[in-house]
Subunit: 203 residues, 2 copies
């Protein structure tokens, strides 16, 4: 016997542990996911393992906008058709997809990878704020559109960045408050988001 | 540009897809898990991929009891100290851990890997029922304890197996109905489960 009675085999308990580390996955969900993977054909389980490996091996953060990309700089940053005087600042890579779907924005992006949240111990240094300031130093950027989520942390982050950029002579705007407070940017429907882009206001 | 604007890079969308295939993971959770993995250090993400791979590569089903194991036969089936005349039939490998924790059972196990459920298209042939009948053929088995979950499908499965085994002169019992109906075996506390083992009744 190479395992204590009353315990799952090590490969099983190890995977339960790994799943449990993911956000929103409790110990029971972790067990269920693990036993689900035990039941499905090996090739299906290995496809998941492979997808995780490739996510880490084949993607990088764009050195310009910090978006997730397979090539550096990313497709949007390399696109010469886009307005380089305009940067839309978002919290997460998924938010870029939401803004792109409106087809109402043709500038560049900047991904903060989070928001300032003292409760969670996240300060400006944990975000890609330094990289944003770097991009605005050349003088080519005319306007920064803050597209953080319309909640407390998003507003605070937007205010913080606005106070850094306004003295440098850059116009800082934010999405119009057509977005209901407390919601999440990635859930916004295209019309609401288009309207909010058009009606953007000075912070 | 090697990806359409407004779409996530292929390694990202592929992993979202794979997560979405798992039970209880909707499209939004799949996105969130994927972007979480993007943010954490590569070694942490690869530990998850590795654990999934090893789950499939290092475990098999015990050819005797159908439990998940690293060695075949499993530790319990090879343990000469256990009562070979007594088999406890459970739905899932996790249920064995729950029964073992009571320290009140010293026989062998049999894992059905599911229950009969016509609504989900699961019949006896989809379960390890044939393997259970095979084990009882030698005449050494005196009693089968049905430890399926105390709900409709569990009861039906228990009845079905009882009808097959009783004519063969094998006593078929079930866990005492101290367990509240509609609950799940793996959640039972040890005392309740011990009591249910002691008070097992003829089906």
């Amino acid at each position: 016997m190479n395992q204590p009675l009353g315990a799952a085999p090590p490969p099983v308990s190890r995977l339960i542990e790994e799943f449990h580390k993911l956000p929103g996955i409790g110990p029971k969900s972790a067990q269920r996911l693990t036993y689900h993977l035990l039941r499905i054909p090996p090739e299906d389980a290995l496809a998941l393992a492979q997808a995780i490996t490739e996510l880490k091996e084949k993607t990088v953060l764009c050195s310009v906008c910090q978006n997730v990309t397979e090539t550096d700089p990313c497709g949007i940053c390399r696109d010469e058709g886009r307005d380089r005087t305009l940067i839309c600042v978002v919290e997460e890579p998924l938010d870029i997809l939401a803004v792109e779907r409106t087809r109402g924005f043709h500038g560049l992006y900047h991904v903060l990878h989070g928001v300032i949240s003292p409760m969670d111990g996240v300060g400006p240094d944990d975000l890609k704020v330094k990289e944003l300031l770097e991009r605005t130093r050349g003088g080519a950027v005319r306007e920064i559109i803050m597209a953080t989520n319309p909640n407390l942390e998003g507003e605070a982050t937007s205010m913080y960045i606005s106070r850094l950029l306004t003295p440098m002579g850059i116009r800082v705007t934010r999405l119009a408050r057509g977005l209901p407070m407390g919601s999440d940017l990635e859930y916004a429907d295209d019309v609401t988001l288009s309207r909010a882009l058009e009606n953007r206001q000075d912070v």
